[in-house]
């Protein structure tokens, strides 16, 4: 089969790879119909995530059609059109039994601090991902869901991570009616977090970024008030000014490890790998939120330490809430919101790239060329 493979920092290509095999009785093999490149894939692409091996296939956002099932699979059949959450999870461990599917303890031998994620390095379990023609899906009776008849492929693929994570991030903010919410980052997850904040009753939603075209999308798609941090000497002071010097009730870090805005932080983490991630957006979130407020972290960071302003967080009495999103837990409610027209995930898709051109796709997304917000990968194009 044809599959994207990692060749080293900033280098990927498409190769002929062995067709994935059933390795466990509850495995399924899925023929991928749509995949996406996620902002967090860029951390792998840039060589930031420890134990990212040459030859691995990335891709944790994908949908497809069941091609083969293992002998113990009961809920899926060959030919079913399925969406697969980015989390690999068993469904019955201590964490899964409590709904924390993203923290499953039975799927990642390489680390206890993170669950299993498709195509996301050996630190997240060593599973090949869905930027390929076929992919192995463990625990087929637990993870994937049949895509509802009425749902379009491009909406479904964005439910496997980006929309679910943004929606989850808004929930972590514990938003109450009339709250002021600042979302740092106008990428796909930030846009969905901003949009979801309104569903939870926010009274004002502010989005911060440095890319004008993404801020434009935040205004039109997420109905948000936007600010370009490059236009202000100090974005935290500006946030205080526009919130009557109180600060926001809730701040969401939807940027994660490669945040810009402070060259030293960015270079020391993204380029020199001396930190688990550049905590610029997280520190801005901590400083922009009011005392007693909540900071929600859904941006991804690596396992090394980062220079986070914990002193400010402690002294302000903040609540810091964070996790990888337990995607499947979000789906029933999100299906309702998509069906009611409250959310239209595919509105943020800007590029559809054939698998054979995936190297260009990574570069366009990484360098933010051509107004790129969300690139999808089409294996059969």
């Amino acid at each position: 089969m044809r599959a994207m493979v990692y060749r080293g920092p900033y280098r990927v290509r498409v190769e002929e790879k062995d067709h994935p095999a059933i390795e466990h009785p509850n495995d399924a093999i899925v023929r991928v119909s749509r995949a996406a490149i996620c902002g967090s894939d860029l951390h792998l692409y840039h060589g930031m995530m420890p134990d990212t091996r040459v030859g691995m296939t990335f891709g944790h956002e994908f949908i497809g059609v069941v091609d083969e099932v293992g002998p113990s699979v009961q809920h899926l059949q060959v030919g079913d059109r399925v969406m697969v959450p980015f989390n690999v999870f068993c469904g019955t461990c201590f964490y899964c039994a409590r709904g924390l599917y993203s923290n499953c303890h039975n799927v990642n031998p390489n680390a206890t601090a993170v669950g299993g994620i498709y195509g996301y390095s050996h630190t997240c379990g060593g599973y090949d991902g869905g930027q390929a023609e076929f992919v192995r899906v463990p625990f087929a009776d637990v993870g994937p869901s049949k895509i509802p008849e009425w749902m379009e492929d491009e909406d479904a693929v964005l439910l496997t991570d980006a929309l679910a994570t943004g929606y989850f991030g808004a929930q972590l903010g514990d938003i109450a009616e009339g709250d002021v919410v600042i979302v740092f980052g106008a990428g796909p997850v930030g846009l969905f977090a901003a949009k979801s904040s309104w569903l939870m009753g926010a009274g004002r939603v502010i989005v911060i970024d440095h890319l004008e075209y993404r801020l434009e999308k935040a205004r039109t798609f997420a109905h948000a008030e936007t600010y370009n941090f490059t236009e202000y000497d100090d974005i935290v002071v500006h946030m205080k000014k526009i919130t009557e010097f109180l600060g926001a009730d809730v701040a969401v870090d939807a940027v994660g490890a490669e945040a810009d805005g402070n060259l030293l932080q960015h270079v020391s983490s993204s380029k020199l790998k001396l930190q688990g991630g550049s905590p610029v957006a997280l520190n801005w979130a901590i400083d922009s939120v009011r005392k007693g407020g909540t900071v929600s972290v859904i941006g991804a960071y690596g396992p090394l330490f980062s220079a986070v302003k914990l002193g400010d967080a402690m002294n302000k009495g903040l609540t810091l809430r964070m996790n990888q999103c337990p995607v499947k837990r979000q789906w029933p409610r999100l299906f309702e919101h998509v069906r009611n027209g409250y959310l239209k995930p595919s509105d943020i898709v800007t590029h559809r790239i054939p698998l054979e051109h995936i190297a260009e796709g990574y570069h366009i997304f990484s360098a933010k060329l051509d107004g790129c917000i969300k690139p999808l990968i089409v294996p059969s194009a």
Binding site: R7, G8, R11, E23, G47, P50, V88, A97, V142, H363
Partner: protein, 195 residues
């Protein structure tokens, strides 16, 4: 007068009332009640929710000694099988897993070091294969020409363009280093023969 709000007990007024927001924004307040939020509360005990028909999953066969964190009691019943450890990078990875917990910086630095060794070794090895690495196609840099590389950057208020020039160094640096080492070695051999 702005200080009045912050230094008094009341919360500042919103630019728009919630009734206006409900009109303007589709779905506003649909999840206002925390009971409608799927991840509230965080822990919801229900061992039968997931569709699993096991209490502890069957074990996946271990086809080679699978590296694992020493913070795990045993190899997890299911695991990924992409890219088994190999060569020098594999040895470094096995050491990182066998010796250091996830709490130790050495664990992660060894793994990052192994990644760089893997890249270098795989790139060199590729030149002896039928599919040698190609910097131009693998970096996707040609899309700069087809996807508005210049106009996406020039005249925009982007901060990331400051560090973009570092990217080619990160990609090409190891190649230049290896080329330099080979050149020096060959030169030394040539000198020894002529001298």
């Amino acid at each position: 007068m702005t200080e009045t709000w912050t230094y008094g007990p009341a919360k500042p007024p919103l630019p728009e009332s919630t009734s206006v927001l409900r009109e303007r924004i589709p779905g506003w307040g649909a999840d206002l009640d925390p009971k409608d939020r799927p991840s509230v509360p965080k822990l919801q005990f229900d061992p039968h929710l997931s569709g699993a028909h096991w209490e502890f999953p069957e074990r996946q066969p271990e086809k080679w000694p699978r590296e694992r964190s020493i913070e795990h009691a045993f190899l997890t019943p299911v695991f990924g099988t992409s890219c088994p450890p190999r060569g020098l990078s594999g040895r470094i990875r096995r050491l990182a897993y066998a010796r250091y917990s996830e709490g130790r910086t050495a664990h992660w630095l060894l793994l990052l070091g192994a990644d760089r060794v893997d890249t270098l070794g795989s790139t060199l090895w590729s030149f002896a294969s039928r599919h040698p690495d190609n910097l131009l196609t693998e970096t996707g840099v040609l899309s700069e020409l087809s996807h508005h590389g210049l106009s996406s950057r020039l005249g925009r208020k982007r901060t990331d363009t400051i560090h973009h020039p570092l990217d080619p160094l990160i990609v090409a640096g190891p190649w230049l280093l290896v080329a330099g080492v080979i050149y020096k070695a060959l030169r030394r051999v040539a000198r020894t023969r002529t001298g």
